[in-house]
Symmetry: C2
Subunit: 415 residues, 2 copies
């Protein structure tokens, strides 16, 4: 089965906004073996919405329209879809009741424009929305299904899972799918593809997708078969072959971010992590603490952005900075060792450090923009790795943090 | 003039990828007074690409196709566009030369599949791409312009600016546009709209868009007139009226992020900033250091995630934590004061602190998930602000950091 997603909203056509609901919907639809073949963003224009719905129905059995269900006059998704389907709209008194009740609960009076949200397309089911005022609508005829969902993700997500998925599950699909994922650090996209292309390309029952981001590659291997068990077995077998080829470059086969993998390793070893960051300015700490429960293994970190803070806060020797500079192997080593010692010392804590020139300014002849040292100190010999990155500040910061995370992972695994 | 953007690539239809090139293109097109009325994402399918190009040309004078220009067999944008235009393709020897030269420069041999990138649509101009192997194509006829650009942003961006914009500038447009921006902190979207709706809605020569993100509202006011000067004057006059109404909630009328505004204020006052973060885990430091040159006014920060690090690294008294807890007004105040003192003390440094429960775990009866204290210490009386946020970890972290930034801005301005 095929689906298309139509995101409605003039704000989604401005330079500052993206339709991100489609990512969630695509992921959920994939569980039903439904592929999204096209995504469209249109403004708040009734004729355009109607046109897109008609076009989408030419190719897809499931059409999802997101946004444009609010109370204001530029919310026109209901009208546009009704026009495409050749149906009328009526005001549903039950919805009026829900909306009025919601307003009363917050001690507010329902203004008249909210009645727009109670309009229902003839023949559509109403999907109650406990998170907001605008309900979803679910319409089905011989050509397929059209679903209208409110734009705010916190309303759309539960509405789709609770109301739409059970209805979609009733529609038969001949193929079942299952996706296995592998996450890889320390390799580029073309390296990965060169190594595993010969393996995945001969498995015709699975589709392999390579997604690359700075410092990280994700592989999605989707098996397809007549039963879900079979699809899972196909995906798992291919994922295993690919993982065998890539070896310890694979850091997760459970779709976990590297921060979470590291957290598990640190907990298993009873070690606390302590950070000393310069050019990444807190990005590494921010990544570590994105994982709920990271307080179990994260002691804390120093964002020692100035030389003075490196010396006074961390205790890096002023002589080291004077002699070798703040961007040096020696400084990275001392930063990591001092961070470790301030969190309990060898055997109790691991120190991880980053110092470098993220750019655009600050480059010198010895350390041009993109020069970054990553240091690690545990109870063995301290390690420092030199990176020679490019000129883009954000990319340099991201790559530096990811390299530090992978260095730590490899050390914790004894690689 | 109107434009539509067609992003090509099956990977853009997976749950992990979004087309972000369209944001850049929309922003650049707006400078020419060109509105993007529709964005489409399609897979690597020649017929679908052709269909979308035909549909787009029905409504828009400028159609931009991004991606699908690579060397592999699933790169089909050239073929799809040629099909839509009813044109042929020929191999351009000059491009073959560029590609071979590029390969030679990197010491590699050009494989045969790269010849695909030298195919040119009959009648199209070739746009040289110094950043990659696939050139762009620019096709113009009486119905308008079709532009093909490679998908990688670092190739697409300079190609658009250097090669497409000069060509587009030659096409006459009756209206000129100019956008003025205001950035607002400490207000919600509906509050802003209620205050300024009566002001902007009566100015018919400008379009006002409100964009909201956690802790921040952006207003884009686009004036339109027959000359650019006139459009700028309309936008500036309306922006001034709106700014007068919102007063000190407006932190930038130059489209600057709040981190940059704060940087300027700190430099003017000769103050260094020092941070002590708990639940935001480095996010605040990361925001501050996103600004190039922030080392001039950012001393550094402590990510004191554990109680021990608050006491041992920062010097918060163990008694305070024992008596009031780490999530308390008292702890927030001490964290800010200690951060300030470690960076030079009152008059030289400002300390900013955040401690709270971001969730999902860690909530107590006294401090449920979403309880956050933001502290500020300068040479006056230290301030602490209590926030009662929701249950979403990421949103709580973002809102906490933004509240801290606005607290600092207001203090620096003496508000």
């Amino acid at each position: 089965m095929l689906a298309q997603i139509i995101a409605v909203g003039s704000e989604l056509l401005t330079p500052a906004r993206l339709d991100t609901n489609s990512l969630f919907l695509t992921e959920r639809l994939a569980r039903f073996g439904v592929d999204v073949t096209r995504k469209v963003v249109v403004g708040d224009d009734q004729n355009r919405i109607a046109q897109e719905v008609r076009r989408a129905r030419e190719d897809a059995q499931i059409v999802i329209v997101t946004g444009g269900l609010g109370p204001t006059l530029d919310d026109l998704s209901r009208e546009g879809v009704a026009q495409a389907l050749g149906k009328g709209l009526y005001e549903n008194p039950e919805i009026i009741g829900w909306i009025a009740e919601r307003f009363a609960r917050y001690g507010r009076t329902m203004t008249d424009n909210n009645r727009r949200q109670a309009m229902v397309i003839d023949g559509a089911e109403v999907l109650p929305n406990p998170q907001g005022t605008a309900p979803g609508l679910y319409y089905r005829d011989d050509a397929g299904v059209v679903i209208l969902l409110p734009g705010p993700p916190r309303e759309l997500r539960p509405l789709f899972i609770d109301e739409c998925e059970p209805r979609l599950a009733l529609i038969e699909s001949p193929l079942r799918y299952h996706t296995a994922s592998l996450r890889i650090a320390g390799m580029g996209e073309s390296d990965v593809d060169a190594r595993i292309g010969p393996i995945y390309s001969i498995e015709t029952r699975a589709v392999t997708t390579i997604l690359s981001a700075p410092g990280e590659i994700q592989l999605h291997i989707r098996g397809q078969a007549s039963t879900e068990d079979e699809a899972r077995a196909i995906a798992a077998a291919l994922a295993q072959k690919v993982a065998d080829e890539l070896g310890d470059r694979v850091y997760s086969s459970a779709n976990e971010p590297i921060e979470a993998v590291i957290g598990t390793l640190l907990k298993e070893r009873g070690l606390m992590l302590s950070l000393a960051e310069s050019c990444t300015g807190g990005l590494l700490a921010e990544k570590i603490t994105e994982v709920p429960g990271s307080s179990e293994y994260f002691a804390g970190g120093f964002v020692s952005y100035s030389n003075e803070s490196k010396v006074r806060w961390l205790g890096v020797s002023a002589e080291t900075i004077e002699k070798f500079g703040a961007v040096s192997e020696q400084c990275a080593r001392e930063m990591a060792e001092r961070a470790r010692d301030l969190a309990g010392g060898p055997g109790k804590a691991v120190g991880l450090s980053i110092t470098g020139v993220a750019g655009p300014g600050g480059g010198t002849e010895k350390s041009p923009v993109g020069t970054v040292y990553v240091g690690l100190a545990d109870d063995g010999e301290s390690a420092v790795r030199l990176l020679r990155l490019g000129k883009e500040r954000d990319r340099n910061r991201e790559l530096s943090a990811r390299t530090a995370l992978d260095l730590l992972r490899r050390r914790l695994l004894g690689l």
